[in-house]
Amino acid sequence: MSLSPVDGAAPAEIGASGSAGGAGPVVGRSPGQLTWMRLRRDRTAQVSGAMLVLFVLVALAAPLIELAYGIGPRDQFQGKLDGAGMPLGYAGGVSGEHFFGLEPGLGRDIFIRLVYGLRTSLFIAGTAAVLTAAIGVVLGALAGYLGGWLDAVVNWLTDLTLAMPFLVIALALTPTLTLRFYGQRDAVPPAFGVGVLIAIFAGFGWTSTARLVRGQVIALREREFVAAARASGAGLGHMLFRQLLPNIWAPILVSFSLAVPQFVTGEAALSFIGVGLTEDTPSFGRMIYQSLDYLQTDPAFVFFPGATIFALVFAFNLFGDALRDALDPKSSR
């Protein structure tokens, strides 16, 4: 695996020609440049990438959107509900004022709640994915490279986490952890719920990355360049981070990009069975869970959160797939 980037090959040149077999002198390209080039040529990657950027922008700019939209996530519009608490008008009260209609009962605006829900979901999923990747890479690389008891322990921990029913354990852990830090009647700050969720995801999620990295490191461990580095007296840190990891960042990146949607759905699933975030933190899962009661009376309320979370996860999956193709040196694209 050659990792000698030819620094002279300016990215500008690739951006300009955009095609591999273009005219001009043959230019060496680093794997990173090749990947970027393939991604740029892949229409699926373009579309899903654009969707992801849009989602992230919306999440980041949620307060600005609130300002422009003129409605906050906690504002209630009881006046626009009928006597039974159902939104007036068609499709759950969709109008120029309320893009996605109103929640039955409380009469909160669905659009702005989704915008903030996106923010919560992406923040939790992103942080959890970064944490799992970090823990998984370090432990996996150490286990694979050193072997011995550490390898045995990491393997066994992986088996253990696989054997624990995730949803049930998370459901059980959340209230007990909350009670440990806050009393029965203390107000629990919303940030704490978010933190607990991230910790649970990281605690359960790192094993799959660790397993992946471990396998790759074992495959590389006996190669000549590793032996050479060891012979010239490289330390453990240098071996792991300068010699081994640069060769396996491709599968790590793919697993990272596929972990984010997993955590998005995981957060929704947990909210769905009633763990995690407090009522005033807008969240996809919570909205869907509440909406299921209105399945017959107000299907639009089920549709909007469900469709949004589908679009988000779909974009991530498409992009992850495209990234996998682009990173694969055997891929012909």
Partner: protein, 328 residues
Amino acid sequence: MLRFLVRRILSAVLTLFAVSVLTFLMFFALPRDPVSGMCPKNCNPERLERVRQELGLRDPLVSQYAGYLKGIVTGRDLGGAQGGRCDAPCLGWSYVNNEAVTDTLARVLPVTLSIVIPAAILWLLLGVGLGMVSALRPGSWWDRAAIGFSLTGASLQLYFVGAVLLLVFVYTLRWLPVPGYTPLSADPLRWASGLVLAWCSLAFLFSAIYARLFRAQMLETLSEDFVRTARAKGLGRTRVYGRHALRAAITPVVTVAGLDVGAALGGTVITETTFGIQGLGRTAVDAVRAGDLPTIMATVLVAAVFVVLANLLVDLLYAVIDPRVRLG
């Protein structure tokens, strides 16, 4: 072979032991009075104290745990209020349900099995079938449709699919009854019609993963020399693709299927909640909500047993499917 089996079973037992210790600690060491959940109605201090005594909550944690383990292996006496003698795989007495935990499990396990096993058959057939179709004609219209289907399925949420199916088939068209469980032996038709939506939504979501996995693996296998050799020596397409290549490409599917089925048997929490069916998963969730420790312990342990067994089975199946794998 025998050595492999013994080693795997030992490590499985060790894993189960660790799961039980962790669950036990999680509930006893953390700050919630386990008794408050076990004495739901008309609780007075004396009754609480008696429950504590009966459960041995005054003993040190280690001996409590030892008592629990002893109950599983040899059975134990639980005392008057709890139905007296509790036979060999004794998982304790639930004060919330007012019955032995083994009885609860015996009631809800068939439900989860009835959901998972037909669904698993469906999703494996659908996933491998779709993957096969698209691998044989890569780039074709079939392939595109299959990829689209699997990417959609992989991005959808079970509760969303379930909600839509419920709305269409139960509430609008009224083709199906409201989902529920009827024992297979009592009425096979009602058994199937009450669970078919759960099977379909599980199969739709899971087959997506298998189709992608199998397609990729099959494409790789089809480009290998032995496939060309088999074709060159005159074997028919059906035989080469259906026997030689299928067998070589199916190993990763078996691995993932083992994990998925094992995990699903431990409780399809979301499915059961969406369709309102009381299986193992819902029982576990209810137990956690009620603080019903013996039931929580039992459901977590049963889930872990399924996962560990499934893993063991996958390893054994490997040796059958792929002769290159030698167990030892």
